[in-house]
Amino acid sequence: MTPRRASGLLYAGVLAAGIGAPLAFPDYTFQLAMLWMMILFALTWDIVGGQMGYNSLGNIVFFGAGMYVCALTQIGLYYDIGEYTAAFGAIRVDFTMPQYLTGLALGLCAAAVAGVLIAIAFGRIVFGLRGPYFAIGTLGVALAAGELVGTWDWVGGGGGISLPVYPGEPQTRSLLLYALAFVTAAAVFAFLRWLYSTRFGLAINAIRDDEQKAEAMGLHTTRYKTAAWAISGFFLAITGGIFGNMTGFIEPLEVAFPTVTFGVFMVLMVLLGGKGTLWGPVIGATIFHVIKEVTWTYLLGWQWITLGALIIVNVIFFQQGILGWARERWPARFGIRVDEPAAAADEESARASVTVLPRQEAA
C-alpha cells in the first residue's frame, strides 16, 4: 500500500468514525463531542506552543472570551442583556428555531472575531516576553481574565449566564452540537495541514528554532507571531462558543476560564502526543480524554493526583511525546528525507574527527 493511499484510508476512517459514532452510540454524544473539543484544544495550542515554540499557559482566555461573546450575542440579539443576567436565569426566553439558529451562527462568528481581536491586543502585551516569562505572563492574563469577568455584573458576574434553551428535541440538540464540534475539528485539522505546508508554517518553525536568526534573515517575527496567535485565538474562540452551548450554562472560573483544568490539559495533551506535529495533538488528546474519563470514573478523588503525576512523568521522561518518539525512531515515514550524499559526507567528517581525536590526545 502506498503511503498516499494509506493516509487516504486513514482520513476516510476518521471521517466515517466521526459521522458514525454518535449514530451508533447516541448515549455518548456529549462525550464524543467533548473528545472533539479536546482535539480542538490541543490543535489550537500546538500552533503557538508547538510549531512556534511559545509555551503559553493562557490560551484559555480565547476560549472563555469566545464563550462569553457567543452567549451574549445569542441573548443580546433578542433580549436586553443587563436584564437577562440580573435575573440570574429566572427569565426563560423561549427562542424560536430560526432565532436560535441565527443566534448561534452569528454568535460563533462574533466569537471568532473577538478571538482575533483579543489575540492582537493580548499579543502586544505578552510577545515581548521570552521563555518562562511568556508562560508566566500568559498564565497571569488568563487568571486575571477569569477574576475580572467574575466581577463584571453586566455579564452575570460570578453567578454566570444560562444560554438560550434549544427549542427542539434534546436528541437533535446534542446531534447539532456534536456536528458543530466535529466539523470545526475537521476544518481546523485540514486548515492546519495546509498551513504547516506553506511559507507561513516554515516561518513559525524558524521562530521556534531560533528567533534571533529568523529575524536576522528578514522575517518580521512580531507579525508572524501575532498572526499565529490570532489563528489560534480565532479557532479557540469558536470552540469556546460551541462548548458554552454544550454545557448550557457558563460561569467565569470553572467553565469559561478554567486555567488549571482545560488550560493545562491542552498543554499536556500536546506534550503527550508530540509537540510540533500535525497528528500529535490529535493522538494526545484522544489518549488523554480516555485516561481522564477512566480516572474520573474509577479513581474519583484521586483523579487530580493521577493527572498531576501524569504531567510530571510526561514532562520529565517523555517530553517529545508519542509522535516525537516515533519520528526519531522512523524518520523516513514522517517525510523527513535523509539527504544521502550530505549524510554520507557527515559520516565521513564524523569518521575523520574520530581519527583526529586520538592524535590530539597523543599530542
Binding site: 521563555g131 497571569g140 518580521h220 487530580w304 498531576g308 504531567i311
Partner: protein, 300 residues
C-alpha cells in the same frame, strides 16, 4: 467604591488598621518570595509549587494545633519536615529538570502543585482552616485599631527567620557554596563544589522557608488546599517586581503587594482581591516590557 474611599478619608485610623493587617501578612509573602528568588537565582528553576509548599507548612501547624499543642511550636517541626520534603522533591523531580529548558521546570512544578493541592484536599478536607495559638488581641486608639498579639509575634518571627537565612547565606560554607553556584555553576564545579548537593540543599532550604511562612500564615490568616496557586502567583509578582537577588527589594515588594491587595479588597470589594494579585503580575510584566522597549533597537 467612592463611599469606601470617603470612609478612609474621614477616619484615618481605619487606614492604620488596614495597613497593620497587611503588614503582618506581607512579611510572610516576602519570606516565600525570598525562597522563590533563591531557587530561581541558584538553579534557574521557577517553582510553581511554591504556594503549595506554604500551604503544606500551614497544615503542619494545623495538625500540631489539633494534637493539643500550641501551633507556634509547629515552626521548628515545619522547618525540619519541609526541609526533608524539599530534599525528596528535589531528588525525585527537580534534579531531573534543572538542566532542561525553563518551561520544563515550570510545567513539572505545576504538575507537582496539582498533586500537592489535591493530596492536601484528600488529607485535610477542603474547609478553610486556621491554627489558633490562643493569644490575646490588643487594642489601640481607644479600641479603633485591633492587633492580635500573634500577628506581632509572627512579624518578629518572620524577621528573625529572614535574619537567620541571610546570616546563613553570608557566613556559612554552604551559604558561600550556594552563592558561588548561583554566580557560575560550572566554575563552582571546577572549584570542587558538589553543585548537585548545593542544588538539593537550596531547594530544601526554600521548602523549609516556605514551611515556616506557612505556619505563620495559618496562625494569622487562613489556609485551604487550593490557596496555593495564589501564593505562588504572589511570590512571582514580588520577585518579578523586585528582581533576583535583591533582598530589600523583595521585602519592600512583599509589603507593597500586601497593601495593594488590602486596599483593592477594601475599595473595590473582596472579589477584587484575587484579581489584584494576578492583575499586578500582568501590569508589572507590561511595565518591564515598556521599560525594555525603550532600550531595544529592533530592525523593522
Amino acid at each position: 467604591m467612592l463611599d469606601n474611599l470617603m470612609l478612609l478619608k474621614d477616619s484615618p485610623v481605619l487606614n492604620v488598621q488596614l495597613l497593620l493587617d497587611r503588614l503582618f501578612i506581607g512579611a510572610t509573602f516576602a519570606l516565600a518570595a525570598y525562597g522563590l528568588a533563591l531557587v530561581w537565582g541558584v538553579m534557574n528553576v521557577k517553582n510553581l509549587a511554591q504556594g503549595d509548599f506554604v500551604i503544606l507548612g500551614g497544615y503542619i501547624a494545623v495538625v500540631v494545633g489539633d494534637a493539643g499543642y500550641n501551633p507556634i511550636f509547629a515552626l521548628p517541626v515545619a522547618v525540619v519536615v519541609m526541609f526533608a520534603y524539599g530534599w525528596i522533591v528535589y531528588r525525585v523531580i527537580v534534579s531531573r529538570v534543572v538542566e532542561r529548558d525553563l518551561f520544563t521546570s515550570l510545567l513539572a512544578t505545576f504538575g507537582l502543585a496539582i498533586v500537592m493541592a489535591q493530596g492536601m484536599n484528600l488529607a485535610f478536607g477542603s474547609d478553610v482552616r486556621t491554627a489558633d495559638p490562643g493569644l490575646d488581641t490588643r487594642m489601640f486608639f481607644g479600641g479603633l485599631v485591633t492587633v492580635a498579639e500573634i500577628k506581632m509575634l509572627a512579624l518578629a518571627l518572620a524577621a528573625v527567620l529572614a535574619g537567620i537565612v541571610v546570616a546563613f547565606m553570608r557566613k556559612s560554607r554552604m551559604g558561600q557554596a550556594i552563592r558561588a553556584t548561583a554566580q557560575d555553576a560550572r566554575a563552582a564545579r571546577v572549584m570542587g563544589i558538589d553543585t548537585e548537593r548545593v542544588y538539593a540543599f537550596t531547594f530544601a532550604l526554600n521548602s523549609a522557608i516556605c514551611g515556616a511562612a506557612g505556619v505563620l500564615i495559618s496562625m494569622i490568616w487562613v489556609i485551604q488546599p487550593f490557596f496555593g496557586i495564589t501564593h505562588s502567583i504572589r511570590s512571582f509578582v514580588i520577585v518579578t517586581a523586585a528582581g533576583l537577588g535583591n533582598l530589600p527589594g523583595v521585602i519592600v515588594a512583599g509589603f507593597g503587594l500586601g497593601f495593594a491587595e488590602q486596599y483593592a479588597g477594601f475599595l473595590l470589594g473582596a472579589e477584587f482581591q484575587q484579581a489584584t494579585v494576578v492583575g499586578l503580575l500582568v501590569l508589572i510584566l507590561v511595565w518591564r516590557q515598556v521599560q525594555q522597549a525603550g532600550r531595544r533597537q529592533a530592525v523593522q
